[in-house]
Symmetry: C2
Amino acid sequence: MGIIDDSVRENEAYASSFTSGDLTSPPSKNLAVVACMDARMNVENILGIKLGEAHIIRNAGGSVTEDALRSLIVSTKLLGTKEFMIINHTDCGMMKFKDEDLKSQLLEETGTGAVSPSFFYPFKDLEANVREQIQKVKTHPWIPDSIVVRGFVYDVKTGKLSEVK
Amino acid sequence: MGIIDDSVRENEAYASSFTSGDLTSPPSKNLAVVACMDARMNVENILGIKLGEAHIIRNAGGSVTEDALRSLIVSTKLLGTKEFMIINHTDCGMMKFKDEDLKSQLLEETGTGAVSPSFFYPFKDLEANVREQIQKVKTHPWIPDSIVVRGFVYDVKTGKLSEVK
C-alpha cells in the first residue's frame, strides 16, 4: 500500500467524527501565516490555531515569494485578514545548499536547464532572511499599510517562537 | 492585545510541553502535500499526518504555481519525498472572483497596476482544476517520473477527501 493510500484511509477516520461543517471561508481570527513546509512544524499547533481561524501559507523556507504575495493579497483583500505572521525556523533545509549547485544537479540529471523556477531562494542568515521577508510584504504596493506584519524564528528543538525585530 | 500576540502566548504553552526536538529534516513518510491555505483545512489532521512525516505546501487555491514547483523540487531532490498529494476543496474562495476584477480593484485602490503577481489563478471548475495541477507536476522536467502524483477534492462540509481521476 502506498503512502497516499495510507493518508486516504486516515481521512476516513477523520471524516467519520468531523463536526465543523458550518464554518465559513473568512478566517475568524483575521490572521494569515507564512511558514516553511518543513515536516517538523505543525503551524496550527505551534500557534494554537483552531479550525476556521487563520490562512496558512507554506512553502520551502517560509519565503515571501511572488506566490506567497498572491496568497496574502487574496487573504486580506477578499477574505479580510488583518495581521500577517512570517515564520522561518532553525535547521532549515534552505540553509544547506546553493542555488547554482541545485540547478547544476538538475541540469546534469535531466538535460534540461532553462526551466522555471529560476531560483530556489536558499539563504544563509536566518534572522536576516526573516527581516527580508517582512520587508517584501511591507513594501508591496498591493498590501495595505494597515496590515500588521511580524516575523519569527521557530526553534525545531524546543518548539519555541522568537520574534525577529 | 493583537491577534499575533495571542498566537505568541499560545506558543508558550505549546513549547512548555514540546517533546519532539529530535526529529530530523527529511519527512519520515516521504510525502509532500500541496493544499489550499483555507482556514477550514487542517491538512495534518485531515490526513492523519504526525510531526516529522510530510512536507506541507499551501497557497491560495492549492495551485501548482512556479513556487509550489520550487518547493516540490526541493522536497524530492534534497529531502527525498516520493509521493505528492494535491488537495483543492469545495467552497474555495478562488472560485468566487475573476482575475481582471481583482486587478481592477487593486489598481483603483492603490493607483498601481503593473506589479507582480500578474495572475491570481482563480478557477471555475474544481475537478478540472485539480487535473490541471496534477498535469503541471507530472510534465515538469525537473520532477522525476518515479514520483506518484495524485489529486483530491476536500469537502469542507463533511471532512471527506475524494480522489480526482
